[in-house]
């Protein structure tokens, strides 16, 4: 398709012609430059011709560009004019649309107007012919005027009718009034008639009375007229009565008697004076006599008097919950630790037999300074005291609360001081070179530092335990090192919870028949009783023993393995928890009120002997908060023949272990090693524990009392609480004065009483009896009884109020 076919605009044709010419020129130039065309011609000529051709081509191109520019300008102009024309067309189109809308709206309006339904069309007008007949003058008028005339006519007619209606209404009212008046007259007549009949009955004989059984005098009348007997008032027109009587007179013999009576009435009816008839009223029960009203009031008052004066006191007395008054603020103060901050002033006696008074005093003072500097825990502090020279002046009770006696012994051949604890008393011997006695001028000395450090070390564990106990009860205490705290926690977790009474159960278990007896009495007496006696201020103990033969391991427990290297049967450490065959071994969880501490002596069968714990080769272990186990392996010499009786000597190591386990289970600290010191420490710890536990029980009781207002509080609880509080106070005082034995005794009483008051049985019963149940208890009986009483009371009160108001109006 050639471009000429597309471009038809005459203004562009020169451009096209020119461009064609230019192309030809280009072709010519190319031909001239073609190297293959003519090699014979002179290259110079060819170059000349080419440059000429080129010039011509440039001229052509310049023209072509000019024409091209002209063409583009023309295109722009054309576009401009096209846009303008188009705008004009759009405007016109819009106008046309508006006009169209206007037309449609007007058409709609016209249609609405044409179809409007006016009221007058609905009017039930008289037909046109009739109207024209009535008003011939409208014969000529057009439709519109005719309609108006017709409507006016209708209006006038209606007004006339309305007037007539009003008149009729008035007449009706008058008639009704008249009717009522007549009715009243009738009623009074009826009344007179009745009275007459009554009197007539009185006159007529008793048989007549029996015949006319129905109590209402008019009942027979009603029966005759076949009206329903429940109608309270029946008004008869005298003439009607007359008429009916005439009809009924001959009906039956039975009625005849009555009829005669009524005929008599009839005669008397006519003689009743009109004014008498007017005053009679419709039938009502006779008004109550004032006397009857008074009687009723008295009856109701009598019932209510019983309820108010006897019923309510009984209700109050029998259902009120007895709540003894508790010293709630005091109890809460105790629980919050506001009343008592437990302190542990430990008294340490220093004996300096070889030192003069002055020097001893000075040494003491400097040691105390050092101690105070070392101590971070203010509640637990050591107080040094110089011992009295004459021993007979220190009585026993004073000595009992002395935590430690430090005895300073000079020893010449020493260079540094040394300390040694007596294993069975509370005495610490300090040996020192005499040269280290601090001169009075010196503020510090190696000896006093040494003593202070030694003492601090001795009581470190106790301090940690007490700090732990206090911090458990949210009482601020000294920070303790984490590893020490952990060991303390572990010990506390292992030991039994404090109880007033512990039951010790020693059991001998063996898988076979031997041994079948043991010298338990002697063993307990030798090894356990001394410990128990030492513990007697802290707790009470009972001892039970048993021997169980054929006590095998439980089937689920892993069997012991033979270890060739130690030539022994071994139990894995992890399996020790399964060692106790709880299902079959008769280990009662608790005997009586207190917890039971079990000690198990296990004698393995000869085929599995010796039995030890793997790796550590130990033969005993503690089960935390439960008891201890000891594996008694018979000595190799008598392993060949079974051991039938365990002597005291054989039992010795086992019971030694048991006594140690008992100490641990009871919570005694591991250091310091002498038993008296450990016991003293335990005394202090227990006193603190019990004091805090009783205090927190008091707090719980106080909170319980306050949060449950419906629980009863018996007097015994109040007594227990006051006992607890007084013993807590005395325990606290004793603690402050360093009398730990007395403090423990008081704290034990306080704890027992606190537990008793908190777990009082009668307090719990009411708790499960919510108020909704009370409704269910009261309503079934008291509801039916109460309703008539209350209704009676309300009626009387209403009547009284009404009469008062009436009197005031008057």
């Amino acid at each position: 398709m050639a471009i000429r076919d597309i471009v038809a605009n005459p203004s562009l044709l020169p451009v096209l012609g020119l461009s064609a010419e230019t192309r030809d020129q280009c072709m010519k130039l190319l031909a001239t430059l073609d190297p293959t065309a003519d090699l014979s011609t002179d290259p110079h000529d060819r170059a000349l011709a080419a440059s000429r051709e080129q010039k011509q081509l440039f001229a052509l191109l310049a023209r072509l560009r000019g024409q091209n520019r002209d063409a583009i300008v023309r295109v722009r102009e054309t576009k401009q004019s096209t846009a303008e024309a188009r705008q004009e067309i759009d405007r016109l189109h819009l106008q046309l649309q508006n006009l169209y809308y206007e037309q449609r709206h007007l058409t709609g309006e016209i249609a609405a107007c044409e179809s409007y339904d006016h009221k007058y069309r609905a009017l039930p007008l008289i037909p046109l012919e009739e109207f024209l007949a009535l008003h011939p003058e409208h014969q000529e008028s057009d439709e519109h005027e005719l309609m108006i005339a017709r409507i006016n006519h209708e209006h006038a007619e209606r007004e006339k009718l309305e007037q007539a209606r009003q008149e009729l209404l008035k007449r009706k009212q008058a008639l009704i009034a008249e009717n009522n008046k007549r009715k009243e007259d009738l009623a009074s007549l009826d009344k007179d008639l009745e009275r007459f009949i009554d009197q007539w009955y009185c006159i007529v004989s008793r048989e007549m009375f029996l015949v006319v059984r129905s109590p209402w005098g008019t009942a027979n009348w009603r029966g005759l007229f076949c009206s329903p007997p429940w109608l309270p008032h029946l008004h008869l027109h005298p003439s009607l009565l007359q008429l009916h009587l005439h009809f009924t007179n001959p009906i039956s013999l039975k009625h005849a008697l009555v009829m005669t009576a009524k005929n008599d009435d009839q005669t008397s009816l006519q003689t009743v004076s009109p004014d008498h008839a007017m005053t009679a009223t419709p039938r009502l029960p006779p008004p109550e006599a004032p006397e009857a009203i008074r009687t009723r009031f008295k009856v109701i008052a009598a019932f209510w008097a019983v309820i108010v004066f006897l019923g309510f006191p009984i209700w109050w007395k029998t259902t009120s919950i007895y709540r003894a008054r508790l010293p709630i603020p005091d109890m809460i103060d105790w629980a919050d630790g506001k009343t008592c901050r437990p302190v542990f002033p430990l008294e340490i006696r220093v004996e300096t037999p070889s030192l003069p008074e002055i020097e001893a005093q000075h040494l003491l003072r400097s040691t105390q300074h050092t101690l105070d500097d070392l101590n971070e825990f203010s509640a637990h502090h050591l107080r040094l005291k110089l011992s009295n020279e004459n021993p007979d002046q220190s009585p026993a009770d004073d000595a009992a609360d002395t935590a430690l006696t430090v005895r300073l012994v000079p020893q010449v051949d020493l260079t540094t001081p040394q300390a040694a604890l007596h294993p069975d008393t509370t005495q610490l011997d300090v040996f020192y070179p005499p040269s280290q006695i601090p001169p009075p001028s010196a503020s510090n000395s190696p000896l006093s530092t040494f003593i202070a450090a030694e003492l601090q070390l001795l009581f470190a564990e106790e301090k940690a335990i007490i700090a732990q106990v206090l911090s458990e009860n949210n009482i601020p205490s000294a920070p303790i090192s984490p590893d020490l705290a952990e060991s303390v926690t572990r010990r506390l977790r292992r030991s039994m919870k404090y109880a007033d009474t512990y039951h010790l159960a020693f059991s001998l278990f063996t898988p076979g028949t031997a041994p079948s007896s043991w010298d338990i009495q002697g063993a307990v007496h030798d090894y356990i009783t001394p410990v128990l006696r030492a513990f007697s201020p802290i707790s009470n103990f009972t001892v039970d023993t048993q021997v169980q033969l054929y006590a095998g391991f439980s089937p689920t427990a892993p069997a012991p393995e033979y270890d060739g290297t130690h030539s022994a049967w071994t139990l894995k450490k992890d399996d020790l928890s399964a060692f106790i065959n709880a299902a079959e071994w008769p280990l009662s969880p608790s005997i009586g009120s207190g917890p039971t501490i079990n000690f198990i002596l296990y004698v393995p069968a000869p085929s599995q002997s010796p039995l030890v714990v793997k790796d550590s080769l130990a033969t005993s272990w503690i089960i935390p908060q439960w008891g201890g186990v000891f594996l008694l392996n018979p000595t190799p010499t008598d392993a060949s023949e079974p051991l039938h009786h365990l002597t005291k000597d054989t039992l010795g190591p086992a019971f030694m272990t048991f006594s140690h386990q008992l100490l641990t289970l009871l919570g005694a600290p591991s250091t310091p090693s002498p038993l008296p010191l450990r016991l003293q420490t335990l005394t202090r710890i227990r006193a603190a524990t019990l004091l805090l536990s009783a205090s927190s029980t008091m707090g719980s009781l106080a909170r319980l009392t306050e949060s449950l207002p419906s629980i009863p509080i018996p007097a015994t609880v109040a007594t227990s609480v006051s006992t607890t509080l007084s013993h807590l106070t005395s325990a606290c005082t004793h603690l402050r004065h360093g009398q730990f034995q007395a403090a423990l005794a008081s704290a034990r009483v306080a704890e027992v009483e606190a537990e008793r008051s908190f777990f009082e049985k009668s307090m719990v019963g009411q708790m499960y009896f919510p108020d909704e149940h009370k409704v269910a208890v009261y309503l079934p009986l008291l509801g039916p009884v109460g309703v008539p009483l209350i209704v009676g009371l309300v009626k009387e009160v209403k009547k009284w109020v009404a009469s008062r108001r009436e009197r005031r109006w008057k």
Binding site: D198, P286, V299, A302, I307, W315, T318, G765, F769
Partner: protein, 425 residues
Amino acid sequence: MGVDHRKAAVFGGALALRLLLLVLFPSLPDLLTGRVEVSTPVTSFKRLQEGLFLYTRNVSPYDGGVFHQAPLLLPLFSLLPNAQSFPLPTVVFYSLIDLVNANALATISDSGQAVSGRFYSALRKHIRWDGVSIAAWYWFLFNPFTVATCLGRSTGVFTTTGILYAFSSAVTGNSLNAMLALGFASYLSIYPALLFIPLVLLCYDQRAQKAKTSSGVASFALQHFAIFIICIAGLLGVSTLLIGDFYTFISATYGFQLLVPDLTPNVGLWWYFFIEIFDSFREFFLGVFWLHLAAYMGGLTLRLRRQPLFVLTSLLGIFAIFKPYPSISDASLYFALLPLYRHLFPLMRYTFFAISALLYATLLGPAFYHLWIYAGSGNANFFYAITLVWSLGLSILLADTIFAALRDEWEHDNPELRGKEVRQV
């Protein structure tokens, strides 16, 4: 004299009936003694025997925790031969007590106090059974309830005697004897003390009717209250001499009757209720039940002030329903006094229903008790339902007679409306 002949014949017949029953059925007294309908814990003859046994052996009769009756019965019964080996004397004694009661009843009936008192005389006076002894023998001596009580040898008959003699003395104007008899009855079982106020009013009306110069009601009542208290105090004093320990016997007898610790089934309403009640409400409901029993006294006395004997009768009916340990002997006492009001019967509306309910309960009660206790095929609810029916029957009867009495009074006040229908408002 003809009247006396008939009375003698009736009394002889009643005695003969009882003896005949004993001879024909020798085990009947023991059977009846064991029935819960006849013997309650406070009237049981068996328990009396137990107390008697202890008493004759010089042990406190209340030690066993079984005997809860007044101590004065003990010397009385220790005079009789052992009831186990010689049942006849005891039965004769009880029959004689019955005759004495019947005599008192005849006296009450003869006085005509039931139909016309000081303020009031009934309209249908002529409708009555002739008071000589007909009432006694139709309704009392030959009433199966009375016969059963007699043969069951319940000690409740002594209370009945006290009450009936109090009434008969009151209607004959012997107010001192009335107070003494009431004191005796109250001493035996507490509840007759509630009859004191209407009884004093009855005595006062009698005196006022005869003497015409009456002192004030209050002083009269106070005087008689003093007599009543002195009588009870005297009896208590003698009892204390007999037993020795005042508090033991008070708590074992009156404490027992007031606090109702023994919940053996009986025909009353208390036992089941107190078995079921929550323990913490027991005291409260004891109070409620006793107050309920006592509350009627004031209201009825005020409302029926003109007929004190009727108040007394109705109160006995209320006691027969609502007292803690009722038995059929209480019902029989009420039934004995009801025929005095023969003239009210035409005014009663639900006689048929009440009598059917009572008969139904009487016949089915023992059967259901047997089902529950012996056969084991029923439970406690069976018997309790029957006691409910029994109480319902008695309540209907009671309410109906009270309605009839009020109706009668109303007609008396409004003669012009006599014989007309009334509606309760």
